[in-house]
């Protein structure tokens, strides 16, 4: 198991909890200024988006990566090198897994960006409200 993968996933999990608490804090802050506002929803939404990113990252690192390693092992095995059919089919499987991994990576990082934007936006809106 790669330590950096686990570290990243723990960080995202902690970030999810922090975003939820930011939502709670914003909700209380809107209660204090007695203004009906739903800006507290944005950090909660950010945590949901991060949760999707975390699930996709876990799926990629704990299900797809071992599958990819197995397929590479098959591809480089003697049987595969002797048989063209096995070689070609394994090559196709590897290409498919690599494509899914790339898509999941893009999804995961884009979710990270969306979550960051949602959190910053909610804080900025609140600060603008109290600065009036």
């Amino acid at each position: 198991m790669k330590y950096d993968v686990v570290l990243f996933e723990v960080a995202i999990l902690l970030l999810i909890i922090t975003c939820i608490y930011c939502g709670v804090v914003l909700h209380k802050l809107t209660l204090i200024i007695k203004e009906r506002s739903f800006i507290w929803v944005f950090p909660v939404l950010a945590s949901v988006v991060l949760l999707f990113a975390l699930v996709s990252h876990i799926y990629a690192s704990f299900i797809l990566m071992p599958q990819l390693n197995d397929s590479i092992e098959i591809l480089t095995s003697k049987n595969s090198l002797m048989d063209e059919k096995i070689f070609e089919s394994t090559k196709l499987v590897i290409e498919k897994i690599k494509m899914i991994l790339l898509q999941l990576r893009i999804f995961s990082f884009t979710s990270f960006l969306i979550a960051a934007f949602l959190l910053t936006f909610s804080g900025a809106v609140y600060i603008q409200k109290i600065s009036k």
Partner: protein, 112 residues
């Protein structure tokens, strides 16, 4: 294609890291304003400094891209992730403390 995507994900994580830092820093500014208005300790300085590890994470990623040395890259990545985790832990503690102060304020307002 692979290198372009790698570059894209790095740029996205740097921008996200910076945005998260700004977002948490804004919460620190809000806490600062509340500490002035209600004359209560909101630990705003801790709230403002706790997310700096996210900034370190973004900076280390920039260094990682510019150095492009596979052996050094792994070390930089692990240091970046550790600083990111530590920063998030401190930020969570700061937010929880602020939440506790807000609970007290709301309780006081309810009594009034």
């Amino acid at each position: 294609m692979d290198q372009t995507l790698q570059f894209y994900t790095h740029i996205i994580s740097i921008i996200s890291g910076l945005l998260f830092w700004v977002g948490f820093f804004i919460f620190g500014i809000i806490a600062h304003k509340y500490s002035k208005v209600f004359n209560k300790q909101t630990f705003y300085l801790f709230m403002m400094t706790a997310p700096s590890g996210i900034l370190v994470y973004s900076l280390l990623l920039i260094i990682k891209i510019s150095i492009n040395n596979p052996e050094l890259n792994n070390v930089i990545q692990i240091i970046a992730y550790i600083s990111f985790i530590l920063s998030i832990i401190f930020t969570l503690i700061a937010i929880l403390r602020f939440n506790f102060v807000l609970n007290l304020l709301l309780h006081y307002k309810g009594e009034k």
